[in-house]
């Protein structure tokens, strides 16, 4: 895309999600105006433009594949998009709604809705990459404006976006926040969680809850051992990992290990 005078065509699609990642675009403020100058937003329902089947250079996809309709739609989008980039925990790991993957979802639906037959829902909520080839992934719940801009900028310059796989701790220490796990004994997920949020929670004096998903070389065994030392039981440790990114392999395995400990 670098050097081209033609504005790249961009789509923002929504699957099963809360819309929070799309808001990362809309909350860009003035940068959104700059962005609109540099790219052609051909489909972005929440912002106005509607053309879901248009051919695009880049498709950002928010949300997980969670309904029978989603299965077809993601295939169509892949066909129409040169680059496909899932954004946010739902799109990269199935999201909070993937907690149903472990239970009898049909039974839940029957208990909650007066007309369960009106709900068309797959048994599992799955990430976009489980269905189609993806070109890059942006983790986070929700993703942040700076993350979005970084990716768009890189693509406009014709280079691969930087994949920040470091731990939240790296951002936490650069900002000078004392480690809350050390100074207050709260079970922080920062040491196994991807950076990108700017250490938002530790900056407010609370523990990271892992909303950006697993970092590379996430030593979940050691962190679980530390959590035990801080007084967390097996069920509490399982819940720490079985949250927004429960289906991300590193967190999934850690939660299973904690459950095995609980069942012993």
């Amino acid at each position: 895309m670098g050097g081209s005078t033609v504005r790249p065509r961009v789509a923002v699609h929504k699957f099963s999600s809360c819309d929070g990642c799309q808001l990362a675009f809309l909350n860009l403020g003035e940068s959104l105006l700059d962005l609109a100058q540099r790219v052609e937003l051909v489909h972005f329902a929440e912002a106005g433009p509607l053309d879901p089947d248009a051919e695009v250079d880049v498709a950002f996809v928010e949300g997980s594949v969670s309904t029978p309709e989603d299965l077809d739609r993601i295939q169509r989008i892949r066909t129409h998009s040169r680059l496909l980039i899932p954004i946010g925990a739902c799109a990269t790991a199935g999201g909070i709604q993937a907690l149903r993957n472990d239970v009898d979802g049909a039974q839940w639906v029957a208990q909650i809705y007066s007309h369960p037959e009106a709900v068309a829902s797959l048994a599992h909520s799955t990430p976009i990459a489980a269905h189609v080839k993806v070109d890059f992934e942006l983790w986070g719940c929700p993703v942040s404006g700076p993350q979005i801009l970084q990716v768009v900028n890189a693509l406009l310059l014709g280079v691969a976006p930087h994949d920040n796989v470091d731990k939240v701790c790296t951002e936490c220490k650069r900002r000078g926040y004392p480690c809350v796990m050390v100074s207050r004994g709260v079970p922080c997920m920062g040491p196994v969680t991807r950076a990108g949020c700017g250490a938002l929670c530790p900056g407010l004096g609370r523990d990271c809850y892992g909303c950006y998903g697993p970092a590379e070389n996430a030593n979940t065994d050691s962190l679980s051992a530390q959590f035990r030392g801080l007084g967390l039981g097996a069920a509490a440790i399982e819940q720490r990992f079985r949250s927004i990114n429960s289906q991300a392999p590193a967190f999934f395995a850690a939660a299973d290990k904690a459950r095995a400990g609980r069942d012993e």
């Binding site: 900028n153 050390v182 207050r184 040491p191 050691s222």
Partner: protein
């Protein structure tokens, strides 16, 4: 700090604020101890009397808790997670900027920091020893780092002797404390009713001179000396005083590296709080309009993926190799680079490791096991 007892003054406890007031009057932004998230941090002192009394910090591997000093002293705490490092080697800073002019040509310009004069009150002997190492790295003859130099030369350092080492302290074994010997503008030793005060620079001497202190008595100086010796003797952790270069570099395949890798989170907290670690990464932040870009330097760590990334492969893909890189650089190859170990004995990497990994234990396991085998 006691080499010339005739030059030592005595600052009565009630006059600590006048030292701060003097520095503020000289135009310094004064930083001193404060509390944030249950830890002692260096924060701006809004008023000369803003230094809190009676704080103490109980430290252990992976644990830091504030407690009360029964003697209600000002500096009975050993240290907090940071002291001088972020003020000289900024965690994030722009190095240069590039802009596209109307003709489309690129123009590069240096971005130099606008740094105020800053005085830090309460730095320790270990912090000063670490700063000397950071100076050796960033101000090396012929290639001084302009950004670091700008901040460094505007620092005024008021050191305090450590009378109450934490359980994680080991400066006596590294030879860097607990009494400051060099590198300060003013050094204080806290007694029950005031401070033995000595100057270590012309700037420091001028400030002390203006305070019109009475000379410290021989008894006050002896008490301060003795409390430094007692603080050294009270330290419960240590590193071997010999050069560990050969001992560690001959044990690169020791099974202990695998064992420590099961505990290490590779979070990089140890390098961030280490006052001598200087690794950084550089990043580009292009503006969205495509007309300019900032080139920034950020703190990096040998525990991160990118640090070991070379074209096409990673030389340190796993936690074992990253921990080994950190420890062997800090305690072994640092000798080749700087003529001494990179550990100044502050113990921060022990206290602030969320997994409580203790480098003194690792060194003992790595060296003792081998010498026994």
């Amino acid at each position: 700090m006691f080499s010339r007892p005739e030059d030592a003054g005595f600052l009565p406890v009630a006059q600590l604020a006048s030292l701060v007031a003097k520095l503020i009057a000289l135009g310094y932004r004064c930083l001193g101890p404060g509390v944030e998230q249950g830890a002692i941090v260096m924060r701006e002192l809004d008023t000369p009397d803003a230094i809190p009394r009676g704080l103490q910090a109980e430290q252990a591997p992976g644990r830091y808790r504030l407690t009360r000093d029964p003697h209600n002293r000002y500096f009975a705490w050993a240290n907090g997670p940071q002291a001088i490092k972020p003020l000289a080697f900024a965690p994030t800073e722009s190095l240069w900027r590039v802009e596209r002019d109307t003709a489309g040509a690129l123009r590069f310009c240096a971005v130099l920091p606008e740094t105020p004069l800053q005085a830090i009150i309460g730095v320790r002997a270990c912090d000063l020893a670490a700063l000397a190492l950071q100076d050796a790295h960033f101000l090396r003859e012929g290639r001084a780092d302009a950004h670091y130099a700008e901040r460094r030369e505007r620092l005024f350092l008021v050191a305090v002797q450590c009378a109450e080492p934490a359980a994680t302290c080991l400066c006596a074994s590294t030879g860097d404390g607990p009494t400051p010997t060099t590198g300060y503008d003013i050094a204080l030793a806290e007694l029950a009713d005031g401070f033995v005060a000595v100057a270590g620079s012309a700037k420091g001497a001028a400030v002390l001179n203006d305070l019109n202190l009475s000379p410290a008595t021989l008894q006050q100086i002896e008490t301060a000396q003795k409390q430094g010796e007692d603080a050294a003797a009270a330290q419960t952790r240590s590193l071997p005083s010999r050069n560990l270069r050969d001992a560690l570099m001959s044990r690169l395949e020791h099974p202990r590296w695998d064992e420590v890798a099961t505990r290490c989170l590779a979070c990089g907290n140890c390098v961030a709080v280490c006052p001598t670690c200087f690794c950084h990464a550089e990043t580009d932040e292009p503006a969205l309009d495509g007309q300019s870009s900032e080139h920034a330097r950020i703190w990096d760590s040998c525990f991160g993926e990118a640090h070991g990334h070379l074209h096409g492969f990673n030389v340190r893909p796993d936690i074992r190799s990253r921990y080994r890189q950190w420890l062997t650089h800090k305690l072994a190859t640092w000798h080749d680079q700087f003529g001494r170990s990179g550990c100044v004995g502050c113990g921060r990497c022990i206290a602030w490791c969320p997994a409580g990994i203790d480098l003194t234990e690792e060194v003992a396991a790595l060296t003792d096991q081998c010498s026994a085998s």
